[in-house]
């Protein structure tokens, strides 16, 4: 029984290790767990159905999509990028550090909806971080000629005889040009813009996770209190939230240092 109950975990580990499709891994793990432990097919289906219906609220972000999509079609992300180009001394790391502080601080006050990947990161934070990164590369926003500076000055200069492309941000030609710039710089095509976007999403997660736990009425705090109360140990929500502070500070310091270090490296 002990080893059989571990079988679904093995499915999860092996499935992701073999880089199988996540939905396939989840389906297979679900069926394995049901097969191993649940009394009947009917009980299994009932559990799956009930839990799915309870989880439907997770898709509530769909309501934000029409707003975001229509604004993006009218140039929202190019606007966000343009805003950042107007700020002197804008750097990807510094910008994301400010977002980290905002996200973590507001989450600690229970305001977890001031952020999120669909509402904030995709339309605003990621384009801003990318624009700050582009400027640091010395990419001119008004001419097509590349002016490389610093240690990369000896590298071959890439010229593409096309009109300015940086404002669109995402079209194929600007991507191509970015790759060529990277090629000239590092001798390898490494998509820096891809890395910046991933870092923006990571910053949102770190800020949310290590902020929300300081909020007294947050589910995790109440869950911990209830767990110990059931077993005869009384803890106040305040004491649990306060003991989260050292880790929250360390999370901010570690992730923040990484962000600033990224600025210095370039």
């Amino acid at each position: 029984m002990l080893t059989l109950a571990l079988l679904p975990l093995a499915v999860v580990v092996l499935g992701f290790a073999a880089r199988q499709h996540p939905a396939r891994v989840v389906l297979l793990a679900m069926l394995t767990a049901g097969l191993v432990a649940l009394p009947s097919v009917s009980a299994f289906l009932e559990l799956v159905g009930t839990q799915f219906l309870k989880a439907r609220y997770l898709l509530v972000l769909m309501f934000a999509l029409p707003v975001i999509a229509i604004l993006e079609r009218h140039g929202l992300r190019a606007l966000a990028a343009q805003l950042v180009r107007g700020w002197k001394g804008a750097r990807t790391g510094r910008l994301l550090l400010a977002y980290l502080a905002l996200r973590q601080g507001s989450a600690a006050l229970g305001l977890t909806s001031l952020g999120g990947h669909a509402q904030m990161v995709r339309p605003l934070v990621a384009p801003m971080a990318e624009a700050a990164d582009g400027d640091k590369h010395g990419e001119p926003s008004s001419t097509a000629e590349q002016s490389l500076s610093g240690p990369a000055a000896q590298a071959p200069v890439v010229r593409i005889g096309t009109p300015p492309l940086t404002q669109g941000g995402y079209n194929g030609q600007s991507l191509l040009r970015e790759n060529l710039t990277q090629l000239a710089r590092n001798g390898s095509v490494k998509n820096s813009s891809e890395e910046v976007r991933a870092l923006a999403a990571a910053t949102d997660n770190v800020g949310l996770f290590f902020g929300e736990d300081l909020f007294l009425a947050f589910g995790a705090v109440l869950l911990m209190q209830a767990f110990f109360a059931e077993r005869g140990i009384e803890l106040t929500p305040l004491s649990i939230a306060l003991w989260g502070i050292p880790t929250a500070i360390l999370a901010f310091v570690i992730h923040g240092a990484r962000l600033l270090w990224r600025d210095r490296r370039r």
Partner: protein, 307 residues
């Protein structure tokens, strides 16, 4: 009928519209996509009125379509404007979080019997989006249906990744019912010399991170690890202070959340939203933060629980 039922009707209608467009559109695999979104539409709109077993069977169908037949997430950046927009475009996008927060704080003050707890945040977000949409339409001078279809295209571009958090929530419950976590905690307890204090500290912190990675959720891992290692060994045998033990243990679990594809809404959905080529790009970006932080947590547990 809960306060969220009308919201699920709207979502069901939204999915029906996406299914209809998938059927009539020119994109590849129209039948697969129509089946996927039509099944979702039925589950969302009529889930409360069907036998739970039928809903469960439909969920398995959705998971199978997503895993085996649905096309990979497509590029969601196709319809970008080349020019930057006017600065009014920022208002609707900032209105959504601002109004959501305001409503989350205001609604509980009304003390409505039919709307409380976790539902408040959901309703607040829906109302905020419903207010931002007409504003966005006025600024862009677009028709409502055009915006809704643009949102539908965006959802299709995210594709199966958007459904994964729901499937993982189900998986967590099935795991809990099957006693998967308990089996792992029992196994750890049987193999490790937990009467040595530092072994117990490391088993607790790493166990939280590991089980969270496997189950995708620190909330599910906490009762298992705190009940299997934290309480019997660290508190009862070694005399650890339970308050820091609980708090830092949960945050060790959060380090695990940063490292696992099982936490799909945090680690896989943004990959699709930001059009990243590497499926694990966000996790990769989080590893250099999560691992040092986990090590710090182990030290903090060792120091702060045994003052």
């Amino acid at each position: 009928m809960s306060a969220l039922t009308p919201i699920y009707w709207l979502l069901g209608a939204y999915f029906a519209r996406i299914a209809w467009r998938a059927w009539h559109g020119a994109a590849p695999r129209p039948r697969t996509r129509t089946a996927f979104y039509a099944t979702l539409s039925v589950l969302f709109a009529f889930g409360d009125w069907m036998p739970a077993q039928l809903a469960g069977a439909l969920v398995l169908l959705v998971a199978a379509i997503a895993g085996f037949w649905l096309p990979e997430s497509t590029s969601s950046q196709s319809a970008q404007a080349a020019d930057r927009g006017r600065s009014q475009l920022l208002w609707p996008i900032l209105l959504i979080p601002a109004l959501t927060v305001t409503l989350t704080l205001l609604i509980p003050k009304l003390a409505l019997s039919w709307l409380s707890g976790a539902n408040v945040a959901v309703v607040a977000l829906v109302v905020a989006c419903g207010t931002a949409l007409p504003l966005a339409l006025a600024i862009t001078r677009e028709r409502a249906m055009h915006a809704i279809d643009a949102g539908g295209d965006l959802f299709e571009a995210i594709g199966w990744a958007a459904m994964l958090p729901l499937l993982l929530a189900v998986l967590g419950s099935v795991f809990a019912a099957a006693g998967v976590g308990d089996a792992l905690a029992t196994l750890l307890g049987a193999w490790l010399p937990l009467d040595v204090r530092w072994v117990a500290v490391i088993a607790y912190g790493l166990g939280m991170a590991l089980l969270t990675m496997l189950m995708g959720n620190a909330f599910a891992a906490f009762p298992v690890i705190a009940g299997g290692i934290g309480l019997p060994f660290l508190v009862n045998v070694h005399g650890a202070d339970p308050a820091p033990l609980a708090a830092i243990g949960m945050l060790s679990g959060y380090c695990g959340t940063l490292l696992t594809p099982m936490a799909a809404n945090f680690n896989l959905v943004p990959v699709a939203l930001l059009d990243l080529k590497d499926r694990y790009a966000v996790i990769r970006a989080q590893v250099p933060t999560a691992l040092p932080l986990l090590a710090c947590n182990l030290i903090l547990i060792g120091v702060l629980c045994f003052r």
